[in-house]
């Protein structure tokens, strides 16, 4: 209910008029504040409240007293509030609490560290073992390769040694020249599909006849 001093009855009457089931405007059932003064009230002079001197003094005293006391109480409460966050006992308590929490955190951290350390040792041991194995394998492989290489080299040396019997040296160069001159080989010939060898033009017919019949087997 709106309370407007003497006009209480009037305002409730207005409310009753405008009250509907779903609509209950509370504000501005009267003239809105921004509208100008009503023409009927234009020249109305409101009567000043007549307050006696004693009453005015009493009210003045009451209000000033109230404000002063409230200020004192506010100040006291503010101090208490400040003490509750910055007092010596409170600070000590906070420090102790923080120390306790810090110790707890340290203990948890140490536990974690120990756990991680054991895991790490295990892992490092495993890795070392794997590394040792790989090194050993590499060593064996390299030995094997070395051995194979040596075998190959020795085989080549053996082949070369065998071949060295047919090398032309200072001693047998005359013999070799003689041999070459005696056995002239001519590659100036052609062969057909049957392996028949056809010598070049310079050769005599006898030589032609004497030439063996080359077959694929004989070539291979």
């Amino acid at each position: 209910m709106q309370y407007v001093g003497k006009n209480t009855v009037v305002s409730t009457k207005f409310l009753e008029i405008s009250t509907q089931i779903f609509l209950q405007p509370v504000r501005y059932t009267r003239k809105p504040r921004w509208l100008p003064k009503a023409p009927s009230k234009m020249f109305r002079v409101p009567i000043r409240p007549q307050i006696s001197v004693e009453e005015r003094n009493e009210l003045f005293h009451l209000f000033t007293n109230y404000r002063t006391c409230m200020k004192a109480i506010y100040k006291q409460m503010e101090e208490e509030l400040e003490k509750s966050s910055t007092g010596e006992e409170v600070l000590n308590e906070i420090i102790q609490k923080e120390e306790k929490e810090w110790q707890q955190c340290l203990a948890i951290n140490n536990d974690w560290n120990a756990e991680v350390a054991s895991d790490r040792d295990e892992r490092i041991a495993k890795e070392k073992e794997i590394e040792r194995q790989t090194i050993l394998e590499n060593l064996i492989n390299s030995e094997e390769e070395k051995r194979k290489m040596m075998e190959m080299i020795e085989e080549q040396v053996r082949i070369e040694k065998e071949k060295s019997r047919y090398y032309i040296t200072e001693e047998n160069i005359d013999e070799a020249i003689e041999n070459a001159l005696n056995n002239i080989v001519s590659y100036n010939y052609a062969i057909d599909l049957n392996g028949t060898k056809f010598d070049g033009e310079n050769k005599s017919k006898e030589a032609d006849n004497e030439s063996p019949k080359l077959t694929v087997e004989s070539i291979n």
């Binding site: 002079v45 409101p46 000043r48 004693e54 003094n57 009493e58 005293h61 009451l62 007293n65 002063t68 006391c69 200020k71 004192a72 109480i73 100040k75 006291q76």
Partner: protein
């Protein structure tokens, strides 16, 4: 002529400062002016005009005037002169005639300095006290009352006195 006042009643009565100052020779420098609303005080309150500056060149401020004056308020001369500008439009001022000037200075000389001693402490409010007692805390606390540091406030706090929450009215009733 009988004057009939219409409209709302006013708290002030008199002339605006410019109405007084503008009609005086040499703009009333050296003259005494008082305000009718200061009549409520027993002690003399008045101004001695030191300098005047018209404000007609300021738009919409033709009713006002800038006056520098020595201010004597409730029997106390302010150490520094004051400037009257924002309240100079109020029809509240009154010129003190030359033959009365000496009287006002005499009143100032014979005026007793104001004294006011108020209680400086107060107990906790009753409910707060009860709450503290319930919690076994120290409830016998005296809260210091602060006095406003106004230029015109002469109140002194007496720390040996306790203020009361009771209104004066009932106090008077009891004494009667």
């Amino acid at each position: 002529m009988k004057v009939k006042l219409i409209g709302r009643a006013s708290n002030v009565s008199g002339k605006t400062l410019w109405e007084i100052i503008g009609n005086l020779r040499n703009a009333g420098i050296g003259r005494l002016v008082t305000r009718n609303s200061y009549n409520r005080y027993e002690e003399p309150c008045f101004f001695k005009v030191l300098a005047v500056e018209p404000t007609a060149y300021i738009e919409n401020q033709t009713r006002k005037v800038i006056v520098h004056a020595e201010k004597i308020f409730r029997g106390k001369l302010y150490p520094e002169p004051v400037e009257i500008y924002s309240v100079s439009y109020k029809p509240d001022y009154r010129l003190i005639p030359k033959d009365e000037e000496q009287l006002w200075w005499d009143r100032l000389a014979n005026c007793k300095p104001r004294e006011r001693i108020v209680p400086g402490l107060i107990e906790l409010p009753p409910l707060m006290k009860l709450l503290l007692e319930r919690d076994n805390k120290d409830s016998d606390i005296r809260l210091p009352l602060e006095i406003r540091s106004n230029r015109d406030n002469v109140a002194q706090s007496d720390l040996s006195k306790l203020s009361s929450y009771k209104p004066i009215f009932f106090k008077n009733q009891q004494s009667n």
